[in-house]
Assembly symmetry: C2
Homo-oligomer: 486 residues x 2
């Protein structure tokens, strides 16, 4: 099975690539995926980088239960509306042999008094716990994150982008003042943007969601939005200012310095394995993945040509030791069952940033062939300069990937002032559309119905600008960012 | 609330300590715990060390679904017997508003055709997946691990030791030969033993389980068994040789080098957050935790006495920078709301291995006071020699903790030859009892009924020795290890 070209069927290209590059696959359970070792290794590098950024800003990890009492979900009115429709519900706690002996059945005697929900997100169970942990202003802030799996029952799923179970981190912080919680919300948004740019080579727009697109239970939802190669947007991370909504729902109060009781202020923020989908769709090509060096499980692969020879081996070991000594992740492919051409195609598919080929002639010249995955250029490099060269190249590849994605993104932010233009850009040019909107959920909904485009965000740095809504003609004070989205 | 002394109520001491040292607490969901930040930080160090050991031996991580189709559980006959009785069962995938408007109820229209089980362990879903991944001997071995949460419905729970949901890692490997799978099983047991000894300062006995105590679906279950301070044993890790049982249940065959189809050989192995319980119970005292240095979130705490002064601060910053430069985890407590005595008690409770006190008089002398948590000794150390001294002390503390636990364990392995002795040792001296057993499940069960002692394992290094069973008087060829256990 070959990878379907993007031009033929972008959606199928994505699925082919995710499966054939060993990132993930469908499982026997509808909507749930298996994250395969190569895909999981990339996720581990993502986790490592994010976890460090969280800890460097004072956050700690903890773990809260997978199962949430059904009644908790109802305590915050908006929250239950958002999540009750897509919950996995645990009703029993035992199986037994069927009476006809053909298998096992649910034991009706083991019915739970109150059903349990598999967490779709953990605000409710966490704020129920925080009530015990927070008494005084001295207990604040609480800056806690958890790495966890969550389940949201999805009817239409796509590997990484939308799956019934997915992996994520969810930060849940508690503060004594509104201002501090708002600062935290924005800080985490900035961390997500920095991670996207510096680790994923993925430029993002920072913005605020409209009321319609807001997290169920939030006062404000901030987001980072990225653009995929097919011109569709992808929400890559969200950071919510929750106000006192969950504190009120779960009665979490603290005694302030003046001895008065106040409700606690909250934030929550998360990114998920969805980032894996963004990574694939932002950078890869018809030959396979193109991985940014910082997240590549193998940053360099060394392929002896045509096959390992004793002399070659010595040089390869020396090169490898030097590269590893400066922290570069190197794989050596000594497999003698496959020919170099096959291997080259394989490592292109896997998106290894740098491939080093070395044969008898190279050896004689004291050089190796260095091939870049991002732009497919090759050059001959002296073995003596190799380590420094590779280090610089890894930096250059990241920069080139980022610059290329940024140029594509910027070319695909189109300012439009009429409805005809709006529809035309969405259909033909695709990408983000910067347009005036009258600020009402009604117009937002009409636009969505007619074009499938949603307001991705109100960009944080959007300047005030008087204008009229592209759809209703009513006044507007700033442009917002529309797109069709994953 | 104080910590109950061990002599008064060991079980309550444990729960008090786990809660008051900030390791874990009960949650709103019966049997599920919240792992608090300090406890989770210790678990993260455990994870980091184990993960590295797994990767250094060629294993990779992946992720398989949380939910398992009910029918999968029935495919391996012994497996279903072991796990069906304690499963959380998902039967529905949606909630809706109740008709009387008072809350939310399970939507009867959203009933699953086949119920899903929250994984109690993942052999079934993984071997169902391996069928797709394994075609030829070239695809073997598969050396895969996953870090995950699992749910086993427990009626009597205790923080970390037995909880409905717990965190663990589960390795699942596939091999082309029986010998290779057996070697893997033993290798992982050795890794667990090494981890227990070198990271947890916890001596363990390596052994094989009897048929009765074997993992449901295994041919052989190897285990490491540790001894707690109350003389009860605790199974700290298991490694299973699964033979071809799961390959046959899920029809996983490969084509060997001779072109013939064969069933694949399997292992699985796991350790869980239960290790946290073992860590607490093996080492701690009535004042609080005693943490082995390699797993301590703070290896050194610096407490200015009586409070921070400008001159002190400079010295503290210098000391801290030097300690951190060699990789030591240092916390500085500059909080001026609590007195040193209060802080000392607090860090004893938290089990910080080394406390450095520094006051005006120390400053004048160019010394600091260094206090060890493990044996509560104190000494004055010159600031100039401090870093090297602390490094050595961290090594010594680990060694001392290990030696102390080993001496206690060895004193509590008692060879007995009569039934009276057997009962007396269990009741009075406690600990492990090395005794002859006739090898039958019936005798094993009788002993368990009469004494609550189980066969923890047949030690791997147990020499052949003819004797007679302490209970039945029938012949026996080697001694086995009995104990009451967690």
């Amino acid at each position: 099975m070959q990878i379907t070209p993007r031009s033929e069927d972008y959606s199928q290209w994505y699925i082919d690539l995710v499966r054939k590059a060993g990132l993930a696959d469908y499982s026997a359970v509808k909507g749930c995926m298996v994250i395969k070792p190569y895909g999981f290794a990339i996720w581990e590098y993502m986790q490592g980088a994010l976890d460090k950024m969280f800890k460097d800003t004072g956050h700690v990890n903890a773990y809260f239960p997978l199962l949430i009492p059904k009644s908790f979900l109802s305590k915050e009115a908006a929250h239950v509306e958002g999540f009750a429709k897509e919950c996995a519900v645990v009703t029993h706690y035992r199986l037994k042999n069927s009476e006809d002996g053909t298998g096992i059945v649910v034991d009706p005697d083991a019915k739970l008094e109150e059903e349990l929900i598999i967490r779709p997100t953990s605000e409710t169970i966490i704020w129920n716990t925080y009530r015990e942990w927070i008494q005084s202003y001295r207990d604040l802030p609480l800056l806690i994150n958890q790495w966890a799996n969550v389940v949201r029952w999805e009817m239409r799923t796509r590997l990484f982008l939308r799956t019934t179970e997915f992996l994520w981190q969810e930060g849940h912080t508690a503060h004594s003042t509104r201002a501090e919680a708002e600062t935290e919300t924005k800080q985490m948004l900035d961390i997500y943007a920095k991670f996207a740019e510096e680790w994923m080579a993925l430029p993002v727009v920072r913005g605020v969601k409209t009321e319609t697109e807001r997290f169920a239970g939030a006062v404000d939802t901030y987001c980072i939005e990225a653009l995929m190669q097919d011109g569709k947007a992808l929400q890559a991370g969200t950071s919510h200012f929750l106000g006192q909504n969950f504190a009120k729902a779960f009665d979490v109060q603290f005694t302030n310095k003046e001895g008065q009781r106040e409700f606690v202020w909250a934030t929550s923020w998360g990114v998920s394995t969805r980032l894996m989908g963004a990574l694939v769709m932002a950078h890869s090509d018809d030959e396979g993945l193109i991985l940014p060096p910082k997240l590549a499980p193998h940053q360099v692969v060394i392929v002896p040509i045509p096959k390992p020879l004793p002399d070659l081996e010595e040089t390869i070991n020396k090169i490898t030791a030097e590269l590893r000594a400066v922290g570069i992740r190197v794989k050596i492919d000594n497999d003698d069952q496959n020919r170099p051409g096959f291997k080259f195609a394989e490592y292109e598919k896997l998106g290894v940033p740098i491939r080093i080929g070395i044969g008898a002639r190279d050896l004689a010249n004291g050089t190796v062939e260095v091939a870049r995955r991002d732009n497919k250029t090759k050059e001959s490099v002296a073995v003596d300069n190799l380590t420094g060269h590779v280090q610089q190249l890894l930096t250059d590849i990241h920069q080139n990937m980022y610059t290329r994605a940024l140029a594509f993104r910027d070319e695909h932010i189109t300012r439009v002032d009429t409805w005809d233009e709006f529809v035309k850009v969405l259909d033909e040019k695709t990408g983000f559309v910067l347009a005036h909107w009258d600020g009402t959920p009604e117009t937002e909904e009409t636009i969505k119905q007619e074009t499938k485009a949603t307001i991705r965000c109100i960009p944080i740095d959007a300047p005030a600008e008087d204008g009229v809504c592209v759809k209703s003609g009513k006044p507007s004070s700033r442009r917002v960012l529309f797109a069709r989205a994953y």
